[in-house]
């Protein structure tokens, strides 16, 4: 446990400069915009102008074979207006750059208070495991999509910035 935390910390530190450097405040984005694509091992950054991000499944730490959960840690939140937001994590079975009309929802969650970081453990269902481990699924096509949505979508975006650590396949606490 300690070694994995250390590894995660080191990993996060490696990319914290990149994460901070990418912080920008811009206007609302079009909902038509495709998720930005993150290279492997880059910390995810969701903002009001880029509320969706995807990364290849191979960038997830750990082995999905025996995993019971997908751990998603929100490490930093800048949300001065306390805009209510919810997060959705999908598995997309489509080549990068192409749209997937039916991604598999792995889990969804919110922050409370909405400027407080948190670690979420999303259960790996048999359906998800099958999708991940199936010989017929080209692994290069699998991507995780992280989406941040306003809970009241009638209201305009305000500046918000959320950092997400490298997601990881894990065994569940027992």
């Amino acid at each position: 446990m300690r070694s994995s935390l250390t590894a995660l910390t080191i990993w996060a530190l490696c990319f914290s400069g990149l994460a901070c450097g990418s912080a920008r405040v811009q206007g609302p984005q079009s909902s038509e915009k495709k998720p930005a694509e993150s290279p492997e091992s880059q910390v995810l950054m969701l903002t009001q102008d880029r509320p969706s991000y995807s990364l290849p499944i191979t960038a997830v730490a750990g082995n999905p074979r025996d995993a019971e959960v997908l751990e998603v840690a929100i490490t930093k939140v800048i949300n001065p207006s306390l805009i209510p937001i919810a997060f959705y994590v999908y598995l997309s079975d489509t080549e990068a750059g192409k749209s997937d009309t039916n991604p598999h929802l792995i889990g969804n969650f919110s922050l409370y208070p909405p400027n407080e970081p948190g670690k979420f453990v999303l259960g790996v269902t048999p359906a998800l495991r099958n999708l991940l481990l199936s010989d017929t699924t080209p692994k290069g096509h699998l991507r995780l999509i992280f989406e941040m949505k306003r809970i009241d979508e009638d209201k305009a975006w305000v500046p918000v910035e959320v950092s997400i650590a490298q997601p990881a396949w894990r065994a569940a606490e027992k």
Binding site: F109, S110, Y112, P113, P114, G123
Partner: protein, 495 residues
């Protein structure tokens, strides 16, 4: 309401033992008058099922208005209640559920006290089936209205976050930590969110907005009904579906020492193990989940037994043991004192309120009398205790009883700290005719009594344990004249 006759009094005693001895003390200490109260315990209802003029809603309004009118020197004051949450609430860890259970129970008690409505049960907002903030929470001048909300009366919560499919997914989760959030070592340590807290709970705080976005969220009266829904889902998951809570004693033995105030505004410290008994003994729920067909928080006897036996904590480490020379029987209304010379040092760790060690009295191989119309009271350092000695005497530690009268040939030994019930080979000479029920073991947490006596300077090195058998009903003579006991042991146990 479930049929409590399904469960014998003995089940509750054994169950309480499995849950933790603090819980046992709570149960046993009140066993004389609690039966009817338990059977008729108030039902927490879905607020959507209540007409606008329902007394439950009116009482809730009156209570909130009364709390807002209290001076801020009173712990029951509305703002002071929000301060408790702001300063103490555990989130993102495994004490999230029991802490809020105790918080709600005390709040409910305050509502009753301030309104004089002793039948009041806090209603819940079932956001899964009624995804808009319910009508009773709207209207200027309404004590239940909060004008900081961002949600309007027509706003609808997302079904992906709180809808029936999500609730089914949550209730299908069998791992306590994934259901109820991750383990922690301190009350406000943030470790990991379980699905119940991280998804519908957090979402609704965001959906309502305003005060609900912050840790001062109890300023909005909808907070209490929101958390009552969370509570109902825990009851459904744990009690009805038989999913065990963690057996880690670090969880169940944790004390919320300086958090809550009761209906009278007095401090109300409580241990997690005790909160586990609340939905069994003090309230029940109208159905709140898909497939929860009737208002029976416990489906059947087997489910309850499974829950009680597998529930936390399953481990209890005995650090020191002091066997007492037992009386063979306790005669009706007569004291049966036994004396043990115990070095005061032996209890030093027990006296530490923040410690994890407790003093436990084990009364083993008790033969349930044929007519179970008595109970046995336990006193510490009160050799002259008698049936007339009141239970608010500082030496009173608890009592145990022999509820109901059915035979249970299927009772087998079970894991955990309680020794297996053993078949009664023969009645002890001199004892009342015994039934064919197995011999029983009772644990009584005598820690609060020992602490109380120590603080009062009356805990000597010679420790007396006195047992007094009294009729269950004060005004009805008991047929049972003696209760046969086996071994008595006082131990220091670590949770």
């Amino acid at each position: 309401m479930e049929d409590l006759s399904l469960f014998s009094r003995r089940d509750f005693m054994k169950g309480a033992t499995a849950l933790g001895i603090t819980g046992l003390a709570v149960w046993s200490g009140a066993c004389e008058s609690a039966c009817e109260k338990i059977k008729n315990r108030p039902t927490r209802r879905n607020i959507a099922n209540l007409p606008a003029n329902d007394p439950i809603i009116q009482t809730y309004k009156d209570a909130v208005a009364a709390m807002k009118a209290l001076p801020n020197t009173d712990g029951r004051n509305w703002d002071k209640q929000a301060d408790i949450h702001n300063n103490k609430c555990p989130h993102q860890n495994w004490w999230f559920l029991p802490w809020h259970r105790a918080y709600l129970a005390n709040f409910e008690s305050i509502c009753r006290k301030l309104t004089g409505n002793n039948d009041f049960a806090l209603p819940y907002w079932n956001w899964s089936t009624s995804p808009s903030i319910p009508a009773p929470f709207w209207g200027n001048g309404n004590p239940l209205f909060n004008n900081t909300r961002s949600a309007t009366q027509t706003s609808v919560a997302s079904s992906l976050n709180v809808g029936p499919a999500k609730i089914t997914e949550i209730l299908d989760q069998t791992n306590f930590f994934l259901f109820a959030s991750g383990s922690a070592t301190t009350q406000r340590q943030r470790t990991s969110y379980g699905i119940l807290e991280g998804t519908p709970h957090n979402y609704i705080h965001n959906f309502v907005g305003g005060d609900m976005l912050t840790f001062r969220s109890p300023l909005d009266p909808v907070f209490w009904c929101h958390h009552n829904m969370v509570e109902c889902l825990w009851v459904e998951w744990n009690l009805n579906r038989g999913n065990p809570n963690t057996s880690d004693s670090a969880w169940s033995g944790f004390n919320f020492t300086d958090d809550f105030v009761d209906g009278d505004g007095n401090p109300a410290p409580i241990q997690v193990a005790t909160t586990l008994l609340f939905p069994l003994l003090t309230y029940q729920f109208e159905p709140c989940s898909p497939g929860m067909a009737k208002a029976a928080p416990i489906r059947d006897r087997a489910t309850l037994e499974k829950f009680l036996r597998e529930g936390a904590p399953s481990k209890l480490e005995f650090v020191k043991r002091f066997e007492l020379r037992p009386p063979r029987t306790t005669d009706l209304k007569q004291a049966a004192p036994v004396r043990l010379k115990v070095e005061p040092e032996a209890f030093r760790t027990v006296l530490d309120v923040a410690g994890r060690e407790k003093a436990v009295l084990t009364v083993d191989e008790v033969e349930p009398p044929a007519k179970q119309d008595v109970f046995v009271r336990v006193f510490i350092n009160k050799p002259d205790a008698a049936a007339a000695t009141p239970i608010d005497d500082p030496h009173y530690a608890g009592s145990f009883a022999f509820f109901c009268c059915e035979e249970h040939p299927d009772i087998k030994g079970h894991e955990g700290m309680t020794p297996a019930a053993t078949p009664s080979a023969s009645a002890s000479p001199g004892a009342a005719p015994a039934s064919t029920l197995p011999k029983l073991t009772y644990l009584v947490d005598v820690t609060p009594t020992i602490r109380k006596l120590s603080q009062g300077g009356s805990l000597s090195s010679d420790l007396d344990v006195t047992l007094v058998t009294v009729p269950i009903e004060e005004n009805r003579p008991a047929e049972t004249q003696k209760v046969s006991l086996g071994r008595l042991e006082l131990a220091v146990a670590r949770f």
